[in-house]
């Protein structure tokens, strides 16, 4: 009896609540737990950025923001889930250069509507790649010398990547097209084994995400020739940019936060503002810089146009490099 009455009361409360809720979206958003989908495995960079931001959103908005890792198919599995989630602001997700600017071209079909896409909230951080060579195998000290050597011995030199279609692979392809050299791509599953083979001298050079590569450079195992961001990187301040040798050469791994397309604009606005504010806090900035990345925190509009440019740029590289579509 008691239980029945309790259920009735709860049902009544729920229906009243449901009737009231839609009238004022943004004011009382969020009123329950928000899921943050990370379309990559835990422990990686995207996961780290996602967790850092989710933790702060949690504090600022007074609701739990739970990170859910949904890895698979270069981020496509998690983004498919995000696209299918109700566009009510209670499911948001992370996206990266590969999942949101490269896969669009690389995959023949995606598990979501390519045209509809997602509502970008804000760009969280940009992680530069760094061009490292095995100094014993390749006696070069600068990008110019490398290009000269590669031109002299076309097709003889190898570069490693963390997989076909990753920003690391495409940075190599960008070098090949922009400098007009012929190099052999050797893909790996993930970058750690790739960098190991460069350190060991089985492979000549590679572009790698900066944090791990910088350590190898500092220990003298590898030589850093250039970073792929337009500005110099804080972890390797003496290393020039690719842009200074090959103008327009930019190939970074960026990580941003998205909502499903069709989420009410008030909620998008609110979330985007919060994320921007979070990324301008000095403590947060220091944390992200400590990971070798540049914190950004731009507006939805800026992020959207950034993605558009990136998508166009990588589509061109994929076409020029003749990478087979998946």
């Amino acid at each position: 009896m008691m239980l029945k009455r309790l259920f009735k009361a709860a049902a009544l409360a729920a229906s009243v609540y449901a009737a009231l809720a839609p009238t004022s979206h943004a004011d009382d958003y969020p009123s329950k737990t928000v899921t943050v989908i990370v379309p990559f495995a835990a422990g990686g960079n995207t996961d780290a950025f996602g967790r850092l931001v989710a933790e702060q959103l949690d504090k600022r908005l007074g609701q739990r923001f739970i990170v859910e890792n949904k890895p698979g198919a270069g981020g496509n599995v998690g983004l498919g889930d995000l696209a299918r989630a109700a566009p009510d602001g209670y499911t948001i997700g992370m996206g990266t250069v590969s999942s949101n600017a490269i896969n669009q071209t690389l995959f023949k079909s995606l598990p979501y509507d390519k045209e509809k896409g997602f509502a970008p909230l804000s760009l969280i951080a940009i992680l530069p790649n760094v061009l490292v060579v095995n100094s014993e195998k390749l006696p070069v000290n600068s990008v110019e010398e490398l290009i000269e050597l590669l031109k002299k011995e076309p097709g003889k030199h190898t570069y490693a990547s963390s997989g076909v279609g990753t920003s690391i692979h495409l940075a190599g392809e960008l070098l090949a097209t922009k400098a007009g050299v012929k190099i052999t791509h050797v893909p790996y599953k993930g970058s750690s084994q790739a960098i190991m083979d460069v350190v060991a001298g089985h492979i000549d050079f590679m572009f790698d995400n900066i944090p791990t590569a910088a350590q190898q450079v500092k220990a003298g195992k590898l030589r850093a020739l250039a970073v792929t961001s337009l500005d110099k990187a804080s972890l390797l301040p003496d290393v020039p940019t690719m842009d200074s040798v090959i103008p327009g050469f930019e190939a970074t791994s960026w990580h941003g936060i998205f909502a499903p397309a069709g989420t009410p604009p008030e909620i998008l606005e609110k979330l985007s503002k919060e994320v921007q504010a979070i990324l301008h806090e000095p403590e947060m900035k220091a944390k992200i810089e400590g990971m070798g990345a540049t914190p950004v925190g731009n507006t939805s509009e800026e992020f959207a146009s950034f993605i558009k440019d990136e998508t166009a740029k990588w589509a061109e590289v994929i076409k020029a490099a003749n990478i087979p579509l998946q």
Partner: protein, 499 residues
């Protein structure tokens, strides 16, 4: 001696009460998680990563490392008790361990696993302390060509996992290799056999396949015979090892430790090969050869020692080079980066307290595990006295959640169901599943390294014999193959003649 001051530094770090406590929590959690089917160390560490943000780097890493070897340990427990290997490395333990349990010797099997692991862990930790840099140099010698030859050796040796027909064992290996080719081709990025299912782009998940083909399939087999025989195990006889057991496991543990320590150093699959290789080797050298596959204690001791030694030495590439050798290590690197420490070749000199603290904590963690687990054996064995009709629904329940937790997706639950059917059909036809799983694990690595080596050498196949290391491994594979084939061919001929 430097090493003593280093170890002293490590001890002062590792034996701080707070770090001991976190180490203990890690071991406990790891064991608990390892016992739950499907939840491996990777999933657990990933889940607990956020908790470690607030801890000191040393405490965080000591706890995560504790989870890692605790889970290795718990995985063997389920492999022995209910034929459910939760980790790729405990597949081999399941072969003889489960048979021992059926004969009422689950206690000695678990004790062997505990003591063998402890011994191996201790030796490997000492090795890690005195010889990490030279061992890391060995790891760097292994390029794609050497890996390919090593995988060939591993596959040939894995025939020894089967006790029945040789041709059927080969068939299972090739079937496993084929299953391993499902997913995106690493070299070209072309999807293979994925039928536009995004979840298949990364291939079938090992844990889901193994739970289906071993765990659920075993339940099917048991239920089938429910009418005729009392399902489960015979009466438990003795929990601890007797003198004869000790005599029998001494050699296998020593050999397993040596093999595991060496193979564990190799990133990307070395530690996985270790337990298979140790089992295969014992089956050749043991005087109790005939008992293998029917509950030989050597078949538990050798792979467990190898597995644990390999688990310890797999830290070497990460700690000395800053390069993670397996997914668990990659997570540890992620944890370190979030702590503001980027692991690299300088970590020993930059963070001596962290490095030596972790090494000492590995040993203390192993000690905790053995202290924790020996008393638990009685409890585990009592679990087997639960009537089977109450036990099996619970196992299925945990398997389902375990499969779900791999990628937080129901897809892997369906894969598990599918493979239980395949496993059942194979067992009806008297095909053995262990070589299939080994082929499945090694297949992608075999293919990747073969094609990578050919890419680097620009299509020159002599690359596999030009490197002395690779050549030596290939020759060894050939010798093993000859050893495996010779007796069986003569036996086959005899059988044909006697008809």
């Amino acid at each position: 001696m430097d090493i003593f001051s280093d170890l002293w530094l490590g001890a002062t770090t590792a034996f701080q009460p707070i770090n001991l406590a976190y180490g203990f929590v890690g071991c406990l959690l790891g064991t608990a998680i390892g016992v739950l089917p499907g939840l491996g160390p990777t999933a657990t560490i990933a889940m607990l990563l956020p908790i470690t943000f607030g801890l000191q780097p040393e405490s965080a890493l000591i706890m995560l490392a504790g989870i890692f070897y605790g889970a290795q340990y718990g995985g063997s427990t389920t492999a022995i008790l209910i034929n459910l290997p939760g980790e790729s490395s405990s597949v081999v333990t399941a072969i003889d361990g489960y048979q021992m349990a059926r004969k009422g010797r689950a206690g000695p099997a678990l004790a062997t696993a505990a003591l063998g692991s402890f011994f191996a862990g201790t030796v490997a930790t000492v090795l890690l302390a005195v010889a990490a840099p030279p061992l890391a140099a060995v790891a760097l010698e292994f390029g794609p060509a050497e890996y390919f030859s090593l995988m060939i050796l591993g596959l040939v040796a894995s025939v020894a996992l089967a006790s029945g027909s040789l041709s059927k064992a080969f068939a299972m290996i090739v079937f496993g290799l084929l299953l391993g080719s499902i997913g995106t081709d690493v070299e070209s990025g072309t999807p293979r056999y994925v039928f536009d299912v995004p979840q298949l782009y990364d291939g079938l998940n090992f844990v889901a396949v193994s739970m289906g083909i071993f765990g659920i399939c075993e339940i099917l087999r048991n239920l089938e015979h429910e009418q005729e025989r009392s399902v489960g195990v015979k009466k438990v006889t003795g929990l601890m090892l007797n003198r004869d057991d000790f005599r029998r496991i001494r050699g296998p543990v020593l050999r397993g430790t040596a093999l595991g320590s060496l193979l564990g150093v190799l990133p990307g699959g070395g530690a996985m090969l270790a337990s298979f290789a140790a089992y295969a080797m014992e089956k050749r050298v043991s005087p109790n050869r005939a008992e293998f596959g029917k509950g030989a204690i050597e078949g538990v001791a050798a792979p467990e020692a190898a597995n644990n030694a390999g688990a310890q030495t797999s830290f070497i590439p990460m700690l000395t080079l800053g390069i993670p050798g397996n997914p668990v290590m990659a997570l540890m690197v992620g944890a370190m980066i979030l702590q503001g420490i980027t692991p690299g070749p300088n970590v020993i000199s930059d963070e001596p307290a962290l490095f030596w603290g972790m090494i000492v904590s590995m040993w203390s963690g192993n000690l905790m595990l053995v202290i924790l687990n020996l008393p638990l054996i009685g409890l585990w064995v009592r679990m087997l006295t639960i009537p089977y009709h109450l036990l099996f629904p619970a196992i299925i329940g945990f398997c389902c959640i375990g499969a779900y937790s791999i990628n937080n997706s129901v897809f892997d639950v369906f894969i598990m169901a599918g493979f239980s059917v395949i496993g059942f059909a194979l067992s009806k036809l008297r095909f053995e599943p262990a070589p299939l799983l080994l082929g499945f694990i090694l297949g992608p690595m075999l293919e990747e390294n073969l094609r990578r080596a050919m890419l680097i050498s620009q299509g020159d196949p002599t690359v596999f014999v030009r490197s002395p290391l690779s050549l030596a491994l290939l020759v060894a594979a050939m010798i093993v193959l000859a050893l495996v084939l010779a007796p069986s061919i003569s036996r086959k001929r005899d059988e044909a003649f006697t008809e």
